[in-house]
Amino acid sequence: MNKLNKCDAAIIGVLVYAASVQPAYAYVDPGSVSLVVTAILGGIASVGYTIRLYWSKVRDFFSRSRGSHHDDTTGRGHQP
C-alpha cells in the first residue's frame, strides 16, 4: 500500500456515510460543501502541523550545540 498521510487515515471513517453515485443537478451547488471540507481537513492537518512545529523546536534545541539549524515546518524543499 502506498503512503497514507494523516489526513487520509482520519478521513477513512468519514467516508463511510456517503457511497452512492448521484447525477449532478442544475440547482445544486456541490462546491458549497468545500467550506466544511476545508474545516475538517484543516483540523486534521493542524494536528500534524503542530507536532512538526514542536518536533522541529526539540530538534533545534539538541542540534544547536552542533552548530546546525533547521526550522522547516512546511516541507519547503523545492522552489519553482
Binding site: L4, N5, P30, S34, V37, A39, Y49, T74
Partner: protein
C-alpha cells in the same frame, strides 16, 4: 487611443484587462485599487517582485493618456502590468511546469497569509511562464483576508492543479487533454472515478478526492429537485487550520512526481538518425538562418528536446519549443528552469491539433497561432509526420506555415529516407503525392527559397525561406 478588452479577463468583476498601444492595462474598481495600494507595502509583494515571481505593476494617474479612456469607461483606477512576452495555457504545460506553477501559487498564498492577506482564487490561468519561469500575473487576486476566513480557493486549487497532477503522477493519465476540454478543471466527483482498489490509498487521494467527492454527492442527493439549499456556514476557521491545510497541500504537491521514460523523442540528442557531419551542417544552417532573420520570437515546431531551440536562443529573444511528446518537453523544461539562460518556453501540443479558440463565446482562450506571432518558424524533419502519420496534405501544412507570416526553415524528408520508409512499411496508402517536387512546388507558392542544404546523401534537404509578398 483604442483600448481592447482581453477576452479571458472578464470573470473577476473587480477589474478587466485591456490592451492599448502594446501596453497591458487593468481597469479596477475602487476596492481593488485600494487593495493594490496596500499590497505594495507588504513584504509578500516586495519579496515576490525581487524574485520576479509576480508581474511588475504600477498605478497610472487618472490623467495619463492611456488610462483616461478606462477611467471614462467607469473604472476607478488603472494598473499597468509588464507585458508577458508569450502567452501559454496550463493544457500546454508539462507535468513539471504545472507542478512549479502550483508550488508558486501555494508559496504566494502562504506568505500572504502570514501578513493577513489571501489569494481569492486558485487558477493556473493566473500564472504565465516568462520563458521557463512561472510568474503570477493576476495582482487583484491578492485581497486582505477576512477574520476567520477559510481557504476560499481550495476547491479550485484541487480541480485545476492537484487533480491534474495526481492523475499523471498516480494513474499515468496525461492531464493536458482533460484540462483543454474542461477549463474549470476536474470536479472531485469526476476525479474519484479514476481511483479504485489500492490506488484509493495513494497519498492525498482519500482526503482531497474521495472525501470531498462523498460530501458533494451527499449534497446532490439531499438538495435535488425542490429541496432548499442548506446554509453551510461553519463559522470562523482558526488561522492554524488554514495555515496547516496550505502547508499540508504544499507537501503533497511537492511529493508528486513522474518517471521520465525513453519515449519516441525524449532521447533525441542520442538517438537521431544523422551522422555527426550531417548533424553539424544542420545545426550551422539553423544558426545562420536564425541570425539572418534577426528574429525576436522563434517557434521551433516539433522541437523534441530542444537541440535546435537552443541554437535559435543564441540570437533570438524568445523561443517557443513545441512538441507532442510530453517527456521530451518536460526534459527541456527541467533543463531550462533556473539556468539563467532560459529564454525557451517549452510547450506540449499535437501540431495536427493545436490549441483552439474556446471558452466563453469561443474567444476566452485563444488558439495557439492567434495569441503569439513568430518572426521565424523552424520545422525540422516534421513534414513526414504531418503528411504520413497525421494525413495533413503537404499543401495544407505549407498554407498554415505561410499564414504565420514568418520566415521559415523547413527540412524535407524524402521518400527514400529510412525514417519515411519505416512510417510507410505497414501502411496500405503509400502517399504517392508525397515527394520533393510536390513539396518544392507548394513551398514556392508562398515562400522564396534563399538557401538549401542536402543532408544524409540527399534523402533530406533543408530550405531557408522568406515569405513572398502577396
Amino acid at each position: 487611443m483604442n483600448a481592447i478588452g482581453v477576452a479571458g479577463s472578464f470573470r473577476d468583476p473587480a477589474g478587466r484587462v485591456y490592451e492599448a498601444e502594446g501596453r497591458i492595462l487593468r481597469g479596477v474598481d475602487a476596492q481593488a485599487a485600494a487593495n493594490f495600494d496596500l499590497l505594495q507595502q507588504t513584504n509578500t509583494y516586495r519579496a515576490a517582485r525581487e524574485r520576479g515571481t509576480v508581474v511588475a505593476s504600477k498605478r497610472l494617474g487618472a490623467d495619463h493618456p492611456v488610462a483616461r479612456p478606462l477611467i471614462d469607461a467607469g473604472w476607478a483606477a488603472v494598473i499597468e502590468h509588464d507585458r508577458v512576452p508569450l502567452i501559454s495555457y496550463p493544457y500546454e504545460w508539462s507535468f513539471s511546469m504545472l507542478k512549479d506553477a502550483a508550488l508558486l501559487q501555494l508559496d504566494l498564498l502562504d506568505t500572504a497569509f502570514d501578513e493577513g492577506w489571501t489569494l481569492k482564487d486558485s487558477t493556473p490561468f493566473n500564472i504565465q511562464f516568462v520563458d521557463a519561469k512561472p510568474i503570477f500575473i493576476d495582482i487583484p487576486s491578492f485581497v486582505p483576508r477576512g477574520a476567520g476566513e477559510p481557504w476560499l480557493g481550495y476547491r479550485q486549487f484541487c480541480m485545476l492543479y492537484l487533480f491534474p497532477l495526481m492523475l499523471t503522477a498516480y494513474r499515468g493519465i496525461p492531464f493536458q487533454g482533460i484540462l483543454r476540454a474542461n477549463l474549470d478543471g476536474i470536479t472531485p466527483i469526476e476525479m474519484a472515478r479514476y481511483f479504485s482498489g489500492w490506488s484509493r490509498f495513494k497519498k492525498g487521494v482519500l482526503s482531497h478526492v474521495l472525501f470531498p467527492a462523498a460530501m458533494e454527492k451527499r449534497v446532490e442527493a439531499t438538495e435535488k429537485d425542490r429541496a432548499p439549499a442548506k446554509r453551510r456556514a461553519v463559522g470562523r476557521q482558526k488561522d492554524i487550520l488554514v495555515k496547516s491545510l496550505i502547508a499540508s497541500m504544499r507537501r503533497l504537491v511537492a511529493s508528486l512526481d513522474i518517471d521520465i521514460k525513453h519515449t519516441a523523442w525524449s532521447e533525441y540528442s542520442k538517438t537521431h538518425s544523422y551522422e555527426e557531419d550531417d548533424f553539424r551542417v544542420k545545426k550551422e544552417f539553423v544558426r545562420q538562418a536564425a541570425e539572418a532573420a534577426k528574429a525576436e520570437i522563434v517557434w521551433d515546431i516539433g522541437s523534441n528536446t530542444g537541440e535546435f531551440s537552443k541554437i535559435c536562443a543564441q540570437s533570438a529573444k524568445h523561443v517557443i519549443a513545441v512538441d507532442g511528446d510530453h517527456d521530451a518537453v518536460d526534459i527541456l523544461y527541467r533543463e531550462m528552469r533556473g539556468t539563467g539562460n532560459d529564454c525557451i518556453l517549452p510547450l506540449i501540443m499535437n501540431l495536427a491539433n493545436i490549441s483552439p479558440n474556446h471558452g466563453w463565446a469561443g474567444v476566452e482562450r485563444l488558439a495557439f497561432d492567434q495569441r503569439n506571432r513568430p518572426d521565424l518558424v523552424i520545422a525540422l524533419a516534421l513534414i513526414h509526420h504531418m503528411a504520413l502519420s497525421a494525413n495533413i496534405p503537404i499543401f495544407l501544412f505549407i498554407e498554415w506555415l505561410a499564414s504565420l507570416e514568418a520566415e521559415l526553415v523547413i527540412e524535407f524528408v524524402d521518400r527514400d529516407d529510412e525514417m519515411v520508409q519505416k512510417l510507410l512499411t505497414n501502411k496500405k496508402e503509400q502517399y504517392q503525392g508525397y515527394n520533393k517536387a510536390t513539396f518544392i512546388a507548394e513551398l514556392e507558392k508562398h515562400f522564396s527559397i534563399v538557401a538549401r542544404a542536402e543532408l544524409k546523401g540527399g534523402t533530406r534537404e533543408l530550405f531557408q525561406c522568406v515569405r513572398r509578398t502577396p
